[in-house]
């Protein structure tokens, strides 16, 4: 089915979220909608899906004007949507989730689960999804849950499939699988709108690319267009995708973790005898697929997670066993992996969030009395320094875009002098322009002589920032390697292959290619 949007305009009060957007998606085409966070991609798709009513413009399906009054209409017209945050009932099985909302019954109101089951099996077989219709959704990996969402849409005869930031939650392997699925769906005639801000993926899978910036289409491109060009279109200026960083001036090794072990509630050794050291003026990046103990490692360093054994020393002082406030006071700057959960109080103001872990120190308070003037002037300075796009210090942080929220967290942690800087996923869900800025700040902190530890699941980020790379797998460090280690080697190590074997296999691989 061919989808066409003509002159779609959507306003929220004074804000124009979509400004006369035109978009044509041919049948069987994978059309990437590329733009920074807050560019208006999701708004546009919500208009298409009937969640918002457009103020102007028309939607055409196979050259016929259609109007959708709610997602029900859109679904019936053959538009399916896979949201970034899945709309699945965790305790239901795959088949139950697929039939949810259009339950088939046989007589007497009995659910016809068999029909749904068959549906799942048929679709799963056709596209190689490998779904078990009786598996309970909450037990499935994220990537598989996403396939359930896709099957859900296909089961309702979706001819146009909207994927909203589908790779944000996936591991690299799962991302590859998803792209394969997208290609197959397109080959069978389904039109796909692929919303993303990841350039690499777009180039790999898209047939056409439409770039949106500040609510308007800034241009279309072929996937063969160079990455730099696409990034330029997205952010409206040249973005250097490689941070210029000088070789590290390694100083003394002041931060040591040795034989650190964390045991979770059910007895798993989620961090299993991890040891490493970081020198002043050096960035150690911890790479690995999400869920291999990185989170627990950082939380153990901060002291919010109890560790079962080992030691963590900073400048010779034992941090293990200290409370988080003591660890922070010891000079550790900490950026948690999920800013909206652990990093920010969303209904606090920007100014309040900028002193969240500093408020009981001078000059922000004297005794128990807060010094509002100091908090205020700190906010003004940080907003200026980090270019935080906000209406002002008194705006609620929850109303900022993801990138600006992340800047608030980073600004707070980098605003005092540090002896160690730990940042988890420092740029997750952050737009290209902000990524560049945040990366520069991290490198600047390193150049100021602070040992820096970055935890990232994005290899691009790891490659860009790291002076050395530690790869984690199932709670252990597989190896610590130089920053110029080839990606294939890193990829193999992330799958648990020891360094030497990974090197051999990678060279063998190259040999095969030649």
């Amino acid at each position: 089915m061919k989808l066409e949007l003509r002159g779609i305009t959507k306003r929220f009060g004074p804000l124009v979220a979509n400004d006369h957007i035109d978009l044509v998606v041919e049948e069987g085409e994978i059309h990437a909608l590329l733009g920074e966070n807050g560019a208006g991609k999701s708004t546009l798709m919500n208009v298409l899906f009937g969640l918002y009513t457009a103020d102007e413009g028309t939607i055409l399906l196979d050259d016929e004007v259609r109007e959708f009054d709610g997602p029900g209409d859109a679904l019936r017209a053959g538009i399916g949507m896979v949201h970034q945050h899945f709309m699945l009932v965790p305790v239901f099985t795959v088949a139950e989730n697929v039939m949810l909302g259009h339950e088939e019954t046989r007589g007497a109101g009995l659910l016809d689960l068999d029909a749904a089951r068959e549906h799942v099996v048929a679709l799963s077989k056709r596209f190689g999804f490998g779904l078990d219709p009786d598996a309970v959704v909450e037990n499935l990996p994220v990537g598989v849950q996403q396939r359930v969402e896709i099957v859900k849409a296909l089961a309702r005869d979706a001819k146009v499939l909207i994927l909203d930031e589908p790779t944000a939650v996936l591991t690299p392997q799962e991302t590859d699988d998803l792209m394969e699925i997208m290609r197959q769906l397109a080959a069978s005639g389904t039109s796909i709108v692929f919303i993303t801000h990841k350039l690499r993926e777009v180039q790999e899978v898209a047939d056409r690319i439409t770039v949106i910036r500040r609510g308007a289409v800034v241009g279309t491109a072929e996937p063969t267009a160079p990455v730099g060009e696409l990034a330029d279109m997205m952010v409206g200026r040249a973005v250097s995708l490689g941070v210029d960083k000088a070789p590290p001036q390694r100083g003394e090794e002041t931060f040591h973790v040795s034989d650190l072990t964390v045991i979770d509630g059910v007895g798993n050794r989620v961090v299993d005898g991890v040891s490493f050291s970081i020198a002043q003026g050096e960035i150690l990046a911890v790479a690995g697929v999400q869920g291999n103990g990185q989170t627990e490692l950082t939380e153990a360093i901060l002291g919010v997670q109890e560790s079962a054994g080992g030691s963590i020393t900073l400048d010779g002082r034992e941090l293990r066993g200290l409370r988080p406030d003591q660890v922070l006071t010891a000079g550790v700057g900490f950026v948690p992996e999920d800013r909206t959960v652990d990093g920010l109080v969303l209904d606090f103001t920007v100014a309040e969030n900028l002193v969240l872990d500093l408020v009981s120190r001078s000059p922000y308070s004297k005794g128990v009395a807060m010094n509002l003037a100091a908090i205020r002037s700190n906010a003004d300075e940080r907003i200026d320094e980090f270019d935080i796009r906000t209406q002002g210090p008194a705006e609620e942080v929850g109303r900022l875009s993801g990138g600006n929220q992340q800047k608030v967290v980073m600004a707070r942690e980098l605003s005092r002098s540090l002896k160690l800087f730990v940042a988890s996923q420092p740029t997750r869900g952050v737009d290209v322009g902000s990524i560049e800025f945040l990366h520069k700040r991290i490198v600047a902190e390193r150049d100021a002589g602070t040992p820096v530890m970055i935890i990232s699941t994005e290899l691009d980020e790891v490659a860009e920032l790291a002076d050395r790379i530690a790869v984690m797998y199932e709670g252990t460090i597989v190896g610590i390697v130089d920053a110029d280690t080839p990606r294939e080697v890193l990829g193999l190590m992330m799958a648990g292959v020891p360094l030497e074997t990974a090197r051999e296999r990678a060279t063998q691989h190259e040999g095969d290619d030649q």
């Binding site: 988080p324 509002l372 209406q391």
Partner: protein
């Protein structure tokens, strides 16, 4: 010359608002912005909810008024009788309530004229203080249902110290007030401690502590230390421990009201100007982030409950040292529960609670006068109070009735 460069409000403006005017300038005039704020914010809805509740109350008055019922019997023959009776029933009832709660314009002397408002203030005193306690817990994400028990414990210890000890005036009073504060604080602290240590939910624990407090007081009133003769009633507190009357012997209004004002100012300062309040609010809004920022969440739980209970205990102390003067098992009335309502009504803000407490006190005092002078059952007041809360809990309903715009963004045309 130089003073013209900087606009005066800028210099002492507190943290909020500096950049707001610049931003909002684009969205419409300042006046319409303010109107919208009032209409969509808590205050406007609260006022309208009160108006709606009065309207429903009026309908109920009509339903129970015998004259109106009689006139309704021949409504088609002489509709004017019906509407006349209806008007007089409602206006009599509400004007009696006004005379009872605000000023009695039918009084012959100044004392009689002003007595109602002083009674309202007297009743509002413990309500305001206890509601401030409930609000502190609310803002920190805890639901302190136990104000009732904390009021009882506060009143019990304050009263006991009041009628057993002999201390110089003033010192004795402070001593008793402190006793009330500590008793309430400990009582709520138990719930905070159990939550922090074992994860026991504060709602359940505080409800149970309410019963324990009530039955403890009932038991104490049977012991020789508390009871006078065979009555379940304590001796009067010594005059050295009583809160001084503010307007002489003719009025019950006492210094407890000043304590209520002081408590409101204290809570405002605590929640908006102190690092402790910052921590309370942070834990209440996002305990994860608070913990990651180095705040001790479990200690905060205990501290919040202690502060909340201390205020409720102070409320109990003002009740026994200022108004009642002796202990009975009804010393707390339904104070602790009304305090929850007042805290909600005041949107957990000290200023809001102050006025909500006065409103609540006024409705109770006025209701009594209404019942005596017009025969309208005082239960109507309870209905009005309940309806106010109901309407406040459902702002969309109030907005729909008055055709008010929805808050933020979803503009659908401004009416009313």
């Amino acid at each position: 010359m130089s003073e013209t460069t900087a606009p005066p409000p800028e210099s002492q403006a507190p943290v909020p608002d500096k950049n707001l005017p610049e931003h909002t300038a684009g969205t419409g005039s300042r006046a319409s912005q303010v109107l919208r704020e009032v209409a969509t914010g808590g205050f406007g809805v609260t006022v309208l909810a009160f108006v709606l509740a009065l309207v429903v109350g009026a309908i109920l008055i009509l339903l129970v008024d015998p004259d109106v019922q009689e006139a309704a019997g021949y409504i088609f023959a002489r509709p004017s009788d019906f509407f006349g009776a209806a008007w007089s029933a409602v206006s009599d009832a509400y004007s009696a309530m006004f005379r009872g709660a605000v000023v009695n314009y039918q009084a012959t002397d100044a004392a009689g004229f002003f007595r109602p408002i002083t009674e309202t203030m007297t009743l509002a005193t413990p309500l305001i203080i206890a509601a401030l306690g409930v609000a502190v817990a609310f803002r920190a994400g805890l639901f302190n249902i136990g104000a009732q028990g904390q009021v009882i414990m506060g009143a019990t210890l304050a009263g006991f110290l009041g009628f057993t000890w002999n201390l110089p005036a003033g010192i004795h009073l402070l001593f008793c007030l402190l006793g009330g504060i500590i008793a309430g604080g400990i009582w709520a602290g138990i719930a905070g401690f159990l939550k922090a240590r074992t994860g026991a939910h504060e709602v359940i624990v505080t409800i149970m502590l309410n019963y324990i407090a009530l039955y403890l007081l009932q038991y104490l009133l049977t012991t020789s230390a508390f009871a006078t003769g065979n009555q379940p009633k304590s001796p009067s507190v010594a005059s050295s421990a009583q809160l001084p009357l503010l307007l002489g012997d003719g009025f019950r209004l006492n210094a407890g009201f000043l304590l209520a004002i002081a408590a409101a100012v204290f809570v405002w300062w605590l929640m908006t100007r102190s690092t402790i309040g910052f921590q309370f609010r942070a834990v209440g809004s996002n305990a994860h982030a608070a913990r990651t920022a180095g705040m001790n969440v479990t200690t905060t739980f205990i501290l919040v409950m202690v502060v909340s209970g201390a205020l409720a205990g102070l409320a109990g102390a003002t009740q026994v040292l200022g108004t009642e003067k002796f202990l009975t098992d009804g010393i707390a009335g339904s104070l602790g529960f009304d305090a929850i309502t007042v805290a909600l009504l005041g949107r957990s803000k000290p200023m809001g609670i102050f006025f909500a407490g006065l409103l609540y006190g006024g409705l109770n005092v006025g209701g009594r006068v209404m019942e005596v002078s017009t025969g309208t059952p005082i239960d109507i007041v309870l209905v009005i109070q309940s309806l106010v809360v109901l309407f406040i809990a459902a702002p969309p309903l109030v907005r729909a009735i008055f055709h008010l715009p929805a808050p933020r963004g979803l503009s659908k045309g401004v009416a009313a």
